[in-house]
């Protein structure tokens, strides 16, 4: 007997799937998709892939099935489903699966659908999306991330992670030489000042270069003192990761830097047929459609520039709950999003 939409998501939430450990979740998803009669498999990147439809344009539904750490007891309480990944982003991927199934059962499937539950979106590698990028050339793409059922995400900022490591000869703290942590703090302040220069006159967060200090540690063994730090940078359009890395390196003095996860910002216009399909479907379900630009980064940044097709991100859930101990999804919203997405997919001909 097949699961209903809530049972399906609840079961998926009960399967831990930290980045790099998505195997059990992928096996569950492909088994369920095979039960629907779809062609389903786990690809070389560990992605759970399901395919249905034989004619019409190719539409890729790209979600991710890995989560950040943090065990949240899975439960339904006051109409909400609690669990790690309920919002970011097993809920949106479950919405993809259920909407595709609803579309098929109501006889409205007129396109070819590829559903991809991707791996490692929450790590800097974005392994699953990088692999998928080389496998498909869709006519349109929907990324599975929480936007809320009435809204559609058009773009994400870019990202660059900076790993800083400084070593210097140990010195007496009463001496003239700045301590290793002081040198790192001076670097951080210079970087903040540079970002403030870039951001002058820019009011919207989407247009700003935003630094965040995510990790600091220091120590010494009597001969050498050291300090290390990890800095995250959220990039606006027009700031390329490689160029920014070069500038950051020029501020770092003798410290060694390692850069990771660089990707530019990406934004899709709201004038695409796909965006119009969402506006139409949301209105038909009594909603007030809106569009979003997000201050974070998603797999849209990976596939959007390569596929150059109409692309949006969509999924139920409040993204303010991403990565929090209170992560939960309103089940009524989940059901609405399934119906909206099914209507959107029915328009892809």
């Amino acid at each position: 007997m097949q699961m209903n939409a809530v049972e399906f998501l609840e079961t998926l939430l009960r399967i831990p799937s930290l980045s790099g450990q998505e195997g059990e979740a992928a096996a569950f998803l492909t088994a369920r998709m095979r039960e629907f009669g779809w062609y389903a498999f786990v690809d070389a990147a560990g992605n759970a892939v399901g395919q249905l439809g034989t004619t019409g344009p190719l539409v890729v539904l790209l979600g991710h099935i890995d989560t950040v750490p943090g065990m949240i007891p899975v439960r339904i309480q006051d109409g909400c489903l609690y669990g790690r990944g309920a919002v970011d982003a097993k809920g949106p991927f479950a919405t993809f699966v259920q909407a595709a199934r609803h579309l098929e059962l109501t006889g409205r499937l007129r396109c070819r659908l590829v559903l991809i539950g991707a791996t490692e979106e929450e790590s800097a590698s974005s392994r699953g999306a990088h692999y998928a990028r080389e496998q498909y050339a869709p006519a349109s793409c929907i990324i599975g991330e929480p936007s809320g059922w009435e809204r559609v995400t058009l773009g994400y900022k870019g990202r660059l992670l900076v790993h800083y490591h400084l070593e210097q000869d140990a010195a007496h703290s009463a001496g003239e030489q700045p301590a290793a942590p002081e040198v790192m703090v001076a670097f951080w302040r210079e970087l903040e000042a540079y970002c403030a220069t870039v951001n002058a006159g820019r009011d919207r967060l989407f247009e700003q270069l935003l630094p965040s200090l995510r990790h600091v540690a220091s120590g010494g063994d009597g001969m050498t003192d050291w300090c290390e730090a990890t800095i995250g940078l959220r990039l606006p359009e027009g700031v390329e990761p490689d160029a920014l890395a070069g500038h950051v390196a020029s501020l770092a003095g003798s410290a060694k830097l390692r850069f990771e996860g660089g990707c530019p910002a990406f934004r899709s216009p709201r004038t695409t047929p796909l965006a119009g399909s969402f506006v139409r479907a949301i209105r038909q379900h009594g909603g007030k459609p809106g569009f979003l630009h997000k201050t974070g980064t998603a797999d849209m940044n990976v596939v959007g520039p390569a596929w150059r097709c109409p692309i949006v991100a969509y999924g139920p859930g409040d993204s303010r709950l991403d990565h929090t101990p209170d992560e939960h999804l309103d089940l009524e919203e989940y059901q609405r999003a399934i119906l909206v997405l099914a209507d959107v997919l029915a328009q892809q001909v």
Binding site: S147, R270, V279, R280, R283, G290, H293, T295, D322
Partner: protein, 55 residues
Amino acid sequence: MEAICPECGATVELPADTMTSEIVVCPECGAELEVISLDPPTLALAPEVEEDWGE
């Protein structure tokens, strides 16, 4: 079909296969407009773009 841009008053040509909720651009002022009706052809400012968290 023709409709009036609510932003600048210019006439906007709409192709015959235009659908409601399509978002078009006014050739005069560049405003992005939603087709809210086909009978008669009517345009309104497109849904706003807001900023949000994540992911």
